[in-house]
Symmetry: C2
Subunit: 529 residues, 2 copies
Amino acid sequence: MAFFNPFPQSRRIYVPGKIYPDLKVSMREITLDDPKCPVLPVYDTSGPYGDPEKTIDVNRGLEKLRAPWIRERLEKDGRHKTQMEYAKEGVITREMEYVAIRENQKMDELFGGKGDEITPEFVRSEIAAGRAIIPSNVNHPECEPMIIGRNFLTKINSNIGNSAVASSIEKEVEKMVWSVHWGADTVMDLSTGKDIHETREWILRNSPVPIGTVPMYQALEKVNGIADDLTWEVFRDTLIEQAEQGVDYFTIHAGLLLRFVPLALKRTTGIVSRGGSIIARWCMVHNEESFLYTHFEEICDILAKYDVCVSLGDGLRPGSTADANDEAQFAELDTLGELTEIAWKKGVQVIIEGPGHVPMHRIRENMERQEEKCHNAPFYTLGPLTTDIAPGYDHITSAIGAAMIGWYGTAMLCYVTPKEHLGLPDRDDVREGVVTYKLAAHAADLAKGHFAAHFRDDALSRARFDFRWNDQFALSLDPDRAMDYHDETLPGNGAKSSHFCSMCGPKFCSMRISRDIQEYVKTGKLSHQ
Amino acid sequence: MAFFNPFPQSRRIYVPGKIYPDLKVSMREITLDDPKCPVLPVYDTSGPYGDPEKTIDVNRGLEKLRAPWIRERLEKDGRHKTQMEYAKEGVITREMEYVAIRENQKMDELFGGKGDEITPEFVRSEIAAGRAIIPSNVNHPECEPMIIGRNFLTKINSNIGNSAVASSIEKEVEKMVWSVHWGADTVMDLSTGKDIHETREWILRNSPVPIGTVPMYQALEKVNGIADDLTWEVFRDTLIEQAEQGVDYFTIHAGLLLRFVPLALKRTTGIVSRGGSIIARWCMVHNEESFLYTHFEEICDILAKYDVCVSLGDGLRPGSTADANDEAQFAELDTLGELTEIAWKKGVQVIIEGPGHVPMHRIRENMERQEEKCHNAPFYTLGPLTTDIAPGYDHITSAIGAAMIGWYGTAMLCYVTPKEHLGLPDRDDVREGVVTYKLAAHAADLAKGHFAAHFRDDALSRARFDFRWNDQFALSLDPDRAMDYHDETLPGNGAKSSHFCSMCGPKFCSMRISRDIQEYVKTGKLSHQ
């Protein structure tokens, strides 16, 4: 599969566990011409696609990494337990040790842990407390464990999925692989068109990252797109179907209650969540409370059986800065807090979805209220977009809000592409969206002080000051683009060791002059004069 | 000149003054199919280029709008006074009323002022206090007045200029026009190659926005690029030459003192300012205090004569997140505070330059320290970039920091293009950089509550909810891109009134469903079933 160029100066490594020595935690190791840091391992979401030794056949699917772990536990316990149940019992699972190692990126080994590195026991305690989740459906053994929680690296989600207007199965699988190549930590399949079951099956069997869905979309297809014909039974059967396939988390808009709908209809942009608008219509037309709310305990029973996480959807998120932090939005958020406690009692892992469109000065209130009302369950936001006037650049308006809310404690950021509000993203848009959100998440990690975050920045900055151009490219989130941009004006290998670039030229390169001064202070000799 | 497409549904309007009825403050008025807001005037930096009635000949230069104002004052006062001198004397100049009207964008007339609109007297008082500047060299009469200060709209600067490696005069003039078309409030000409005087002359005579320079670059050319041969006299003559030409503000790195250089040499990335590294080398090699510092009073005497503003440069800004907020940076910032008081005594308008590379959690300290040490002179920052690992996307890593520091009170944001650290920006990079910074500045204006900011967001959101696609495009910062992205999957005029786009398709369009529910509540009738 030649979906992408391999990353330069990179090789795949596998790190064993200490509790479970058979673990093979995958990372990408970048080789550098830097005595302070000859190799730098980095977090790697690409799974087997990032290992040139592996032969991948999309018709057969990926290796079932977790199958023996899951089987062993089933044999011992007689039923599937969720990661939360194990955590509460004090058990550190293989998944937990895997993510602990993965979070540290070997920085504890290479640079010393200082006590703030991530331990397996810390992972367990965060999951037990509901402050973090490991999405890991027992029927998605291809998935490499990862953790979502405020005390871990900020994660990003990439949305794929065909709509009735465009796209195909092959394209969606390719978009998933493309997303994880660039760094998507989870992928949501938001397909709404035909072949929804088959598309999902292909994606799941070939995905090394957790897959999320909004089951309402398929339920609606089952009633021929007539929202008013939806029933609890159709929805329930859809949940079971998708849980059986291996979906790792479901977005369910169970907090959107009948009495909240009139609050939302008064707004500038009404209801802007697809799932939210469907259930709102159902509630209003039937003049009945949402079946997602009235049947929430049964929903949790199904989810617990497979260890599917619930992502409590914000059907009333604001779709414009004018609607931010309004009564409708917060009424629903408070309800999500009630539902969180119900899910936890059933052992179901929970994350909470958040906005949306929010001007910068109103972002923090979202985080604080979410933590308070939802008892510190991880927050998972879409942006937020900090202004409404830049369609075509909404990956950027939203990256501003995303970086900020990530710093404040949001655990996962749902990407926004340049096509937001305008059309279905293509391959280039997905790359732009994923890389933009990687940098926003990384900015958040630096700001919140994640143990492993700053080493890569520092290595890149040293490479920059040393004019090691190839090392700069290799350490970049998107080496292909960095190299292409550099080479537009200064192509060729000679320019890769030049002590300048075309931005300032040789005479005005401040870093070159800066090095000359250092040299002068050391040796008393002047160069370049 | 067919440098760009005119903005859709737009026409140029001119608003007269009340104190000075002969003023013609230019704005762009967007016509909308919105009963709440049939026309929306927006801030317009494009000058005569945005008025189809005007014939422009770049060989003759633009109309000298301010020439009679300047002449009248000179005749009355017998010498040129700066805007700050007038402000302190209690005089409201034409420039001051112009910017007051410009800042309000007619929102006071259209939607009512609520007392928080900008008055000419408020403009005067802010300039008198040093909290704002109007860059307006008496020899740049082509310039339309604009104001830079924390209590006004956040401004953005676009850098142009050839380097020794690439570019030409024609290209630089075109980049200036292109920059102001997309919304640059000021343009810095950072040319360093040959023909530096002639390039600047072309830019000045054709620029409707203030032009800034770093005079050190030309001074260095005059001594054949040998930094050690620089002298106060060469620098002084360069200042006079550029002031005579009409440059509106000079970046001068006068706060970089000899004793600070060793602090900077210890850093991960040393000195990353071009002007800073040149003067640092001069200081070290001569073992002498910087002539920019020792001759600062004479510099101010020259600037006052032409009303050139000084932008006190941050030669020791951090070039990596590792170096953020360090001793070198803050030692220089404190010195800029001393220099501010000297300049103010001479009647010179002052802004202070700021970083650079700063992780999010350390941004606020920059703003707070700047305000305290520099006595509330306006802050003008480059980004800051919030992570080092995304070359190729540094317009985005820096837009995050820029939006935040703008919200905290920074008055002007210097744009960063996708080519930052990699090469000289081309036309596409300039557009990408300017629009990205416009959205960051606008996000800051919403967050800090500028009176006129939210009307455009609200108009666009209403257009979105009403499926008025053409109005959405017209209200966008970059209508061309919004339209192109939309039309990639749904071209043609029919799709411009469709109640969906290709992102979700008709059945899953939440806004469409939302409107159906509204309709149902009103009429009891169901649609789309």
